[in-house]
């Protein structure tokens, strides 16, 4: 079985949403200083790199991270090729891709072709999920939706309507997936966020598995 890592690293160089600090760390012990072992303390946003949004991120009273149903994040999934889409992913793009009937969908867009997650600075022009596409995903009963940059939301939507539509209908959102080296098709997804109590989100390690080719 082949295992493909689709996680963006947590590092002081992680690309962040504007206004958010990149992770920082400090060695509290280090073998080079004569300590018996090496340990760091990290300060980081709950939405660093590859992460899962909890429903409470936008919906007051919504579930926090520790109540996430893990079955949403582990199981068959489909990587959908949307790299040809110029603007944001629209309803027609999803209809054309024939995504209905798949519970876990990872959307691979031009963000992956441009390797935006690997760049140093934040890019406002990333591809996201338009409001009508979000409504379509809810219509077809998508349970888990992943994107290949920091947010499902078009940058210019100051009302965060895509988040409200998807989280409002309890769709689990995986953001910051590194899909640049992944082809479209069927996989088994395992996206395991750390189990933070009362949290609006959590960084995760995400992998795709499939039979060796």
């Amino acid at each position: 079985m082949e295992i493909i890592d689709i996680t963006a690293p947590v590092s002081p160089r992680s690309v962040m949403w504007p206004g958010q600090d990149a992770p920082s760390h400090e060695f509290t012990s280090h073998t080079d200083r004569g300590d018996p072992n090496t340990v760091s303390r990290w300060a980081l946003s709950a939405h660093t790199g590859t992460h899962v949004d909890a429903r409470m991120h936008f919906i007051p009273g919504g579930w926090p991270m520790e109540e996430l149903d893990l079955a949403r994040c582990v199981g068959p999934c489909r990587v959908v090729d949307l790299t040809h889409v110029d603007g944001h992913v629209g309803r027609a793009d999803l209809e054309a891709a024939g995504v209905a009937g798949t519970a876990r969908l990872l959307l691979k867009t031009r963000n992956s072709e441009q390797r935006l997650l690997e760049r140093d600075g934040f890019e406002e022009g990333y591809a996201a999920i338009s409001l009508e596409a979000a409504e379509y995903l809810v219509e077809i009963g998508a349970e888990t939706v992943g994107v290949d940059y920091l947010s499902v939301e078009p940058f210019e939507d100051g009302e965060f309507r895509t988040h409200h539509v998807l989280l409002g209908e309890d769709v689990v959102l995986l953001e910051g997936l590194a899909l640049a080296d992944v082809g479209p098709g069927e996989y088994v997804l395992a996206c395991l966020p750390i189990k933070l109590a009362g949290s609006d989100g959590a960084p995760a390690r995400a992998i795709l598995m499939r039979d060796s080719q």
Binding site: M1, I3, D5, T7, A8, P9, V10, S11, R13, Q20, D21, T28, S29, T31, D32, P36, N37, T38, V39, S40, R41, W42, A43, L44, S45, A46, H47, G49, M56, H57, F58, P60, E66, L70, V74, G75, P76, G158, E159, F160, H163, Y187, V188, A190, L192, P193, I194, K195, L196, A197, G198, S199, D200, P203, A204, R205, A206, I207, M209, D211
Partner: protein, 243 residues
């Protein structure tokens, strides 16, 4: 056990996931010198912001976590961090042994493992070995959790060497450390991490697992990290679940 993805999908249909990770809260037990988990509010809809969003501070060894080799190994081929641990070693079959009879100051010896294998079958290369001392019952947030930090048993150096020879992928336990409380030389850490056998500490719910189960523990991809909190899960046949 999970040689192909299709078999894994078939298993998912009549199995369920058991979460082996403690919930990360403020005031959970921590190694005395390690940073505790803390949170700070970045924004909130309660204050008129569009979303709720917290920042975190934590040690790499917070809650249920994995040790990367460089945690103890200062140089050489095993001096590497969390982000370089090969993932095919972390999706594996787990052998879970119940040694709740061991108490304060006791060690799990090689003979315990051999006896377990005689009863349940051999531990194979790339298996994970999960040791249940019953210590997770002492886990609690706040001062009550101090009991978790007292006198936990651990793996003897011989037992660790035996598992290294077996070629296991990782060793997990429900205690704060794979070495017993008060160990100054940390023989199990050195034997395991020095041979690129990874370590997962502070597991819970091991009592629910059958002798063999599919196991996954994925650390955050922390660049050069000495470890990382992990979400550890096991896939258990529906009929085996006693919760």
């Amino acid at each position: 056990m999970i040689d192909d993805a299709a078999a894994l999908v078939r298993q998912l249909r009549n199995h369920r996931w058991i979460d082996l990770s403690h919930t990360l809260e403020e005031d959970i037990p921590a190694w005395p010198t390690h940073a505790r988990l803390g949170r700070v509010l970045h924004e909130s809809y309660d204050y008129g912001d569009p979303a709720l969003h917290h920042g975190l501070t934590m040690s790499e060894h917070t809650g249920t976590h994995m040790d990367a080799p460089l945690h103890f190994i200062r140089e050489g081929p095993a001096h590497y961090g969390t982000d370089e641990i090969p993932l095919n070693r972390l999706v594996c079959r787990a052998a879970t042994m119940d040694v709740t009879g061991l108490g304060a100051g006791d060690f799990l010896a090689m003979e315990h493992i051999e006896a377990w294998e005689k009863e349940h079958g051999s531990i194979a290369p790339n298996d994970a070995v999960l040791v249940r001392y019953g210590w997770d019952e002492r886990w609690a947030a706040g001062p009550e959790g101090r009991r978790f930090l007292e006198d936990w048993p651990g793996l003897s150096g011989d037992a660790a060497e035996y598992l290294v020879e077996k070629g296991v992928s990782l060793v997990g336990c429900d205690t704060l450390a794979v070495d017993a409380a008060g160990s100054e030389t940390n023989p199990a850490h050195h034997a395991l991490l020095g041979n690129e056998v990874y370590v997962v500490e502070n597991l819970k719910n091991l009592d629910v697992l059958p002798p063999f189960a599919l196991f996954l523990a994925l650390p955050l991809k922390i660049k050069g990290g000495s470890g990382s909190p992990v979400r550890a899960v096991a896939l258990v046949p529906e009929e085996d679940v006693e919760v």
